[in-house]
C-alpha cells in the first residue's frame, strides 16, 4: 500500500522547503569551495512522487552521465546523487585539476576521485545544514562514482527506496558556474522515516 510520507499541510511543506532551501544553498557553497569560484543555484524544487516517476525528472534516460552517489545513515537517512553530463564532468575535472578545458578525454581514477570529492562536499554541506537546523545527527558513506546511462543511475536510487513504499520525496536542484554553464543536478531523497523525524520538529 502507498504510504504518503507527508501530511500535506502548508506548515509542514513550508518547513521542509525552508530546510531544503538552506541545505541546497549550503551544498552549492560546498561545491564552489573546491572550484574556488562561485556556483549559483539556478533552480530548485521539492516533489512528492510515485517512485516510477523519478525517471521523468531526467531528460534523456540513455544519455551518458556521471553520478556521484552518497548515502547518509543513522537518524538522518537519505540518498544523494550529484548528476553531471559526461562532457560537463570532464570539463569540471579540468577545472578541478587546473588544466585547460578539453584536456580531459576520459575519466580515469584521478578524475573520478576529484569528482567523488565534489559529490562528497556537496552532500556533506547539505547534511550539515539540515543537521544544524534540526539537531538530527548524520553519518555519511563514502561516495561512489558511476558513469553510465542516466536511467541506469536512477536504478541505484529506486532500488534503495522501492521497498519502502510507493512514494518518495525528491529534492532537485540545478547548479551553474557563471557563463561556463557547468550544470549539475543535485537530487536528495530522504528515507520515509527520516522525513517523519524531520517533520516531528515542526
Amino acid at each position: 500500500m502507498e504510504s504518503l510520507p507527508t501530511k500535506n499541510n502548508e506548515k509542514t511543506v513550508a518547513y521542509l522547503a525552508a530546510i531544503a532551501d538552506a541545505g541546497i544553498h549550503n551544498a552549492a557553497r560546498g561545491f564552489s569551495g573546491m572550484l574556488g569560484q562561485e556556483l549559483s543555484v539556478v533552480s530548485q524544487e521539492m516533489k512528492l512522487l510515485p517512485f516510477r516517476e523519478i525517471a521523468s525528472i531526467v531528460n534523456g534516460l540513455e544519455e551518458e552521465v556521471v553520478g556521484i552517489y552518497v548515502r547518509s545513515e543513522g537518524d538522518l537517512a537519505s540518498q544523494f546523487m550529484l548528476v553531471i553530463q559526461l562532457q560537463t564532468a570532464m570539463e569540471l575535472a579540468d577545472l578541478l585539476m587546473d588544466q585547460p578545458i578539453g584536456t580531459c578525454r576520459e575519466l580515469r581514477s584521478l578524475e573520478r576521485s576529484a569528482l567523488a570529492e565534489v559529490g562528497n562536499l556537496t552532500s556533506s554541506f547539505f547534511m550539515n545544514s539540515v543537521s544544524n537546523l534540526t539537531g538530527i545527527s548524520l553519518r555519511p558513506t563514502p561516495p561512489a562514482v558511476v558513469v553510465d546511462m542516466a536511467g541506469a543511475i536512477i536504478d541505484i536510487i529506486v532500488t534503495a527506496t522501492g521497498s519502502l513504499g510507493d512514494w518518495v520525496m525528491m529534492l532537485k536542484a540545478k547548479f551553474a558556474l557563471g557563463e561556463r554553464a557547468v550544470h549539475a543536478d543535485f537530487w536528495v531523497l530522504p528515507d520515509a522515516r527520516t522525513l517523519e523525524l524531520i517533520m516531528s520538529g515542526v
Binding site: M1, E62, R71, E73, A150, G151, I153, V158, T159
Partner: protein, 157 residues
Amino acid sequence: MGVQVISCDPQDVLVAYGLGSCLGIGMYDPVSRAAGLLHAVLPEQAGSSSEPGKFVDSGVKTLIEGLVRAGADRRKLVVWMAGGANMILPLGSVKAFDIGARNIQAAGKVLEALNLRLSGREVGGNSGRTVRLYVGEGRMTVRKVGEEEHAITVSYS
C-alpha cells in the same frame, strides 16, 4: 520503469531505456504478432502493491495476461531479457545488495514455473542497457553506452 507496454502495431518499437539493475523482459507471439515489454524493478512482490508491474514475478504474469487478451497464444511466446546489472561496485552499506542478480533469479524462477524458455538474454555485468522490441519484425535489440545496437543473443554479461 515499473511499467509494461503491449502492442500489435507493426510500426511500434517498445523501448526500455537505461536498464541498470532493472530487468527488461520482452515477449512476442510470431503468429498473432502481439508484443509486450516489461520494465521490472524489484524481484518479488512482498505484500500488496498498487503497482504489480514493478516486480519481476507479478510483472511477468500480468504481461502474459495482457498479451493473451491482445490475442497471443502463450505457448508460442518468444521471450528475451536484458539488464540486471550490478550498478554499485562494492559500496558496503548500500541496501540494494545486487538487486540486479536477484531480478535475474526471480525471472528465471517465474519463467520456468510458467514453462517459458528464453530465446536470448544479456544480463549482469556493471553497465546500463537500453532494449528495443521491434513489433513489426518481432526482434529485440540491446545497446550499452559506447556500443552499437545489436540483436539480443544468449550471453552472460
